[in-house]
Structures are given as structure tokens and as C-alpha cells.
């Protein structure tokens, strides 16, 4: 899988690449508008991470360029600007997702995962892992062919883990993922614990192996 990281902050780009490289993603960098333009003209990427505020141009123009060339690369905008207008404009211009800085790398990885699945598998987007089967479109989970009923949040968490397999994800990261903007305003993150407990229980009762492990007391890891 090839990923292009268009980001002028090299530290940030490097962190992203470090995190993603373990997932068999091949990351390339473009640190400015010009480089990005050259790269997208020459190669095809499975996913482009696009910072729209570049020193020599607006990332939106890259989206327009991709559209003009009829390219199917998936694009996730990563922006420091939390402006609804930008978000709408980006999505209209063909971006698939919009992520606001600062974000957790696990959040980014989960989004890249689901974006690539969507792009590559189209209508029959089903994930298999031994006895576990997840239909990403229908949002159903089957263990040994039997459907298990997960709540929206449990399903959301499951996908998050699948997108970050073998990675440790802290409780606070999960809290931010699930509650969005107001995670820090809640005095405790015990609600995460409740969701994880239920998810684990449902998977186990259906006969699924315990892939979801607790580490360091409050961290979680989907081990394969």
C-alpha cells in the first residue's frame, strides 16, 4: 500500500510514517505544494494525507488537480483549521475524510484503514480474521458464521482496533475517539471500560478468540 504524506512539518510527517510503516504501508513525503503536484502526476497512491495549508500553495488545488486527472486516490485532509467551510469544500472537491490537528496516530490509522478497504473492496467489503467476519458495509459482525449484536459504539471500537492491530491504544485515546470533542470535559473515562467489557464479553460468548488484550491496566491491544 502506498501512501503520500503531503505535510510541511517534517516531524509530523515522520511520526505518521513511523506509525504506518509497521502496517506494511509504504510512505512517501512531499513537503510542499510543488513536490506534491509532481508526485501525484507521476504515481498513484492508495491514500494521500493532505495538509491544506502548505507554504507555497493551498492543498485544495491538489484536490482539484486529482479530480481533473481523473485519479481515484483516496484523500484524507489533515488540517489545523477546524472550519466547517473548509471541511465541506474539501469533501466536495473529492476528499474522503477530514481530520483536524492534533490527532492521535491510531485515529489516523483507523481512518486510512477504512478508506483503503472502501476503495479497494467496493461492494463486497468484508474483513476476515479466522472465526471473525466483519461486513464493513452492512456493519454486521459474525463469529463462526453467527451474527452477534454489537451496539454502534462497540462496532466502532472493533473497527478502530482492527485498523490498529498489534498497537497499544490508551483509554484516553479511545475516549477521544468515541466522545469526540468533549472527552477532556468528562471527569472519568470509565464509560470506555464499560464498552470494552461488553465488546469482549459478546465476542467471547460467541466463541471468538480473545484477540483484544488489556495492557498496562488501562491500555488495549488487538493482537493477531
Amino acid at each position: 500500500m502506498k501512501i503520500l504524506i503531503v505535510e510541511d512539518e517534517t516531524e509530523l510527517a515522520q511520526s505518521i510514517a513511523d506509525y504506518l510503516s509497521e502496517e506494511n504501508y509504504l510512505c512517501e513525503f512531499a513537503i510542499n505544494f510543488k513536490q506534491a503536484l509532481t508526485k501525484i502526476e507521476t504515481y498513484n497512491y492508495d491514500c494521500i494525507l493532505l495538509d491544506i495549508m502548505l507554504p507555497d500553495g493551498n492543498g485544495m488545488a491538489i484536490l482539484e488537480e486529482l479530480k481533473k486527472q481523473g485519479k481515484q486516490d483516496g484523500v484524507i485532509i489533515i488540517s489545523a483549521k477546524d472550519a466547517l467551510d473548509d471541511k465541506i469544500k474539501g469533501l466536495q472537491l473529492g476528499a474522503d475524510d477530514y481530520l483536524i490537528k492534533p490527532f492521535h496516530l491510531s485515529e489516523l490509522a483507523a481512518r486510512i484503514y477504512s478508506l483503503i478497504r472502501r476503495k479497494q473492496f467496493g461492494n463486497s467489503n468484508t474483513f476476515f480474521q479466522n472465526e471473525l467476519q466483519i461486513d464493513l458495509l452492512a456493519k454486521t459482525v459474525l463469529v463462526n458464521g453467527k451474527i452477534i449484536n454489537l451496539t454502534k459504539k462497540e462496532f466502532d471500537l472493533l473497527l478502530y482496533f482492527i485498523g490498529n492491530k498489534n498497537r497499544i491504544i490508551s483509554k484516553s485515546t479511545l475516549a477521544e475517539h468515541l466522545s469526540g470533542d468533549f472527552a477532556d470535559m468528562l471527569d472519568n473515562h470509565d464509560f470506555i471500560y464499560a464498552h470494552i467489557k461488553n465488546l469482549k464479553k459478546k465476542l467471547k460468548e460467541a466463541g471468538c478468540d480473545t484477540y483484544l488484550k488489556t495492557v498496562y491496566g488501562t491500555g488495549y491491544k488487538w493482537e493477531v
Partner: protein, 428 residues
């Protein structure tokens, strides 16, 4: 408070009253002087005429005596008699007061007299002529009345001119004032004053323009600073966050180290939140949330309550809902959602275990109340970082944002504590 022109008017009126009052005796003396002079001349002419007339007649002594008696009878204003003492021949002029002839009431009149020695057919006579002259008080009263009338005329004229002048002269000033009153630092619109040919007003306008421009530029740079600083912070925050994400993947870290990283993460989330909220406040103040639409407030409130249900459940808080159906408000959806979330989250966070939250919505207001034990400090409640409850979580900006959103929608927000319950009321 008095109007400026009315103040000068008073002074002018008093001054003119003073001048006109002093003019009354002056007029009197002048008029009386002319009056008496004229009468003296008149008496002199009459004396002359009598002397000439009687001499021309060439009467005999007996006829003359007869005529003089007759004369004295028919001419009560004058008296002719033989001079006894001829030593004093100088004519005397004087004024007397006496009963007016032919007047049946007791009416004293002022008379100007001429007593003069004349010769009729070589015989010395004393001729006395008395001519009625206007009394002092009558003259004074007449002059005073006329002066007073003129004074009235003068003041009326002042008032009239004043009104005319104040409309015309002060027009540029009024324009400037009206424009200043509409000026709002938040609006970003520089006001231009109308040109005027009055030096003072032009100077005032120049000074005001400079002052306003300076204010606007200071205000803008302050706002820009908040916005820029917040933006600039995003990237380093992102780098720290991502590095921590990488760090916990390291297999050699211990549980203790993991906990430390997790604590850093929580603090980092808080900084991020503060930063985002500062940016948000700057944006609301900058009117960057211009879009507005009709919003079904009832639906929105219910969906926000549902979203936060698990958090209230987690604290075993009983949520009572009393929402009238289809309350429609005009506003910005993003902001109103933020307002509701902030209010509800506050109600959950500042609640007691097993407490209650009541949410009431009708066409006029939204009331969010929750159980609590201690009143919040009312004066600093909506200020940034006021920390009215001494608690550690949160950005310290939640209520400031709520307040700003209310201001943006021209809603009034109030806080009330009744001993066991915090209550926030928003009037649409």
C-alpha cells in the same frame, strides 16, 4: 442636564435684562429733560406773546385792569399781576405739584412754571405761566412697560434663533454623535464623519477618526494574536501527541512509564481543548459563524441529551426532560449544538452522584438545572478562566463560550442557585 445653547441663552437673557433695566432711568432722564426744555421754551413764547399782545392793544388803564382781571379768570394756567417788588427781575423757572384744574377727583398734577417780569404799557407786571407736564411716575411706568415688552421680544427672539441655530449649527456635531453611538468595535466597520465647515467640529472629527482607527487596529491585532497563537500551537501539539502515540508502542516501557504517558496525554488533551476554545471564541467574536437557519430546538436538544446519556447514566444521574415539541429558533446550528453540549456537560460534570438534571424547553426559554451543593461565584461566572467552581477539569472557557453564543444570538442568559440546584436560563 441642560443643552449647551440653553446655558448661553440664560446668560444672554440675564445680561439683556440688566442692560434694559438700566436703560429705564436713562430714558426717563433724557425724556424728562427734553420735555421740560421744550415746555420752558413754550412758556417763554407764551409770555412773549402775552406781553406783545397786551402792549399792542393800547388799552387805557381802566381797560387794562379790566382785561387783566378777565385774563386771569379765563386763563387759569397763567397769572398776571402788578409787580410790587421790582428788584427781582430775573425770570424764575420751577416745577410744582398741585391739584389739576377741572378735575373732580383728588388728582395731583405736575406743572412747569415760568415766573417772569414783563412790562405792559411801561408798567411792571409779574407773569406766571403753568403748563401741565407728564408726572414722573407715569413716564417711568410707560418707559418700563415698553422696555419690558422689548425684553420679551428679545428673549423670544433668542429662543427662536436658538432653536434654529441649534438645528443648523449643531448638525455636524449631532451627525458625529449619532455615528459614534452606532459604532461597535466588533463590527470592524470604520465610520467616516461628514465634512463640516466648522473648525471645532472638523477638529473633533479628526481626533475621533484617529482614536477609532487606533482602537480598531489594537483590537484587531489582539484578536489576530489569539487566532494566530492558537493556530501556531496546533502543529507542536500534534507533534507531541503523535510522538506519545509512538512512544507507547515501544515494547520496553514499564506500566509506570505507560501511566506517565497517559497522564501527559490527558494534560495534552486539555491544552488542545483550551486552544480550540480560544480559537472558537475568537471566531465567534469575529462573526465567522454567519450562517443561520431555522432550527428545531426541541429535536436538537433531545439528540444532544441522547448523545450524552451514557455519561449521565455513568454517574447515575436522573435526567428529567420537559421539552415542548417543535420549538423553532433562528440561529447557527454549529453554535447552538455547542451551546447545548456545553450546558449539558456542565450539568453532568458539576452534578452529585445520583443527582438530577432537568431540561425544560418552551417557546421562550431553555432551562437547564442540576443538583449541586455550592453556589458558583456569580460575578466571574462567564469570564474566561474565571474558574468559579475550583475544579480541575475543563478548559475554563465553557461558560465564556456559552455567553458568547448567547450574545451572538441576542439571547439573555442567567444563573440562579436555590440552595440545592444550579439553574441556567436562556431567554430566546
Amino acid at each position: 442636564m441642560k443643552k449647551l445653547l440653553n446655558k448661553t441663552l440664560r446668560t444672554f437673557a440675564i445680561y439683556s435684562l440688566f442692560v434694559l433695566a438700566t436703560s429705564v432711568p436713562a430714558y426717563y432722564y433724557v425724556v424728562d429733560f427734553i420735555w421740560l426744555n421744550e415746555l420752558d421754551e413754550h412758556n417763554e413764547i407764551i409770555a412773549h406773546r402775552i406781553e406783545n399782545g397786551l402792549n399792542k392793544l393800547n388799552l387805557s388803564q381802566a381797560e387794562l385792569d379790566q382785561s387783566i382781571i378777565l385774563w386771569n379768570k379765563v386763563q387759569p394756567g397763567s397769572n398776571l399781576e402788578k409787580a410790587v417788588n421790582t428788584s427781582n427781575t430775573k425770570p424764575q423757572i420751577y416745577t410744582i405739584s398741585k391739584q389739576k384744574p377741572f378735575s373732580n377727583v383728588n388728582n395731583l398734577g405736575r406743572f412747569r412754571c415760568l415766573k417772569k417780569n414783563i412790562e405792559i404799557q411801561k408798567e411792571p407786571f409779574i407773569l406766571t405761566i403753568e403748563t401741565n407736564v407728564e408726572e414722573t411716575e407715569e413716564t417711568v411706568v410707560a418707559i418700563a412697560i415698553i422696555t419690558f415688552l422689548f425684553f420679551i421680544l428679545l428673549v423670544a427672539g433668542f429662543l427662536f434663533l436658538n432653536r434654529r441655530l441649534s438645528v443648523r449649527l449643531w448638525k455636524p456635531f449631532r451627525d458625529t454623535l449619532a455615528k459614534l453611538k452606532t459604532f461597535n468595535l466588533n463590527n470592524q466597520s470604520i465610520i467616516t464623519f461628514e465634512k463640516t465647515d466648522t473648525f471645532e467640529f472638523e477638529e473633533l472629527n479628526d481626533a475621533l477618526t484617529k482614536l477609532l482607527q487606533h482602537n480598531i487596529s489594537v483590537y484587531n491585532s489582539q484578536k489576530e494574536f489569539t487566532e494566530n497563537a492558537s493556530h501556531e500551537l496546533q502543529t507542536p501539539l500534534a507533534i507531541i501527541k503523535n510522538k506519545l502515540d509512538l512512544l507507547i508502542q515501544n515494547e520496553t516501557i514499564t506500566a509506570r512509564q505507560y501511566q506517565i504517558i497517559e497522564e501527559i496525554n490527558r494534560a495534552l488533551t486539555r491544552i488542545t481543548r483550551i486552544n480550540k476554545n480560544l480559537l472558537l471564541l475568537a471566531k465567534i467574536e469575529n462573526k465567522q459563524f454567519n450562517a443561520h437557519e431555522n432550527i428545531n430546538f426541541s429535536h436538537l436538544a433531545k439528540s444532544c441529551i441522547n448523545q450524552l446519556k451514557e455519561h449521565s447514566d455513568n454517574k447515575q444521574i436522573a435526567v428529567q426532560i420537559n421539552i415542548a415539541p417543535d420549538v423553532i429558533v433562528d440561529g447557527n446550528r454549529t453554535l447552538i449544538e455547542m451551546l447545548l453540549n456545553n450546558l449539558l456537560l456542565n450539568a453532568i460534570r458539576h452534578n452529585t452522584q445520583n443527582g438530577t438534571i432537568t431540561i425544560a424547553v418552551n417557546h421562550h426559554q431553555l432551562i437547564v438545572s442540576n443538583s449541586g451543593s455550592k453556589a458558583l461565584k456569580n460575578d466571574a461566572l462567564f469570564k474566561r478562566f474565571a474558574n468559579s467552581s475550583n475544579e480541575k477539569f475543563g478548559s475554563g472557557l465553557g461558560l465564556a463560550i456559552i455567553k458568547q453564543i448567547c450574545i451572538r444570538h441576542q439571547w439573555a442568559i442567567g444563573y440562579h442557585f436555590d440552595g440545592s440546584e444550579h439553574q441556567f436560563t436562556i431567554q430566546f
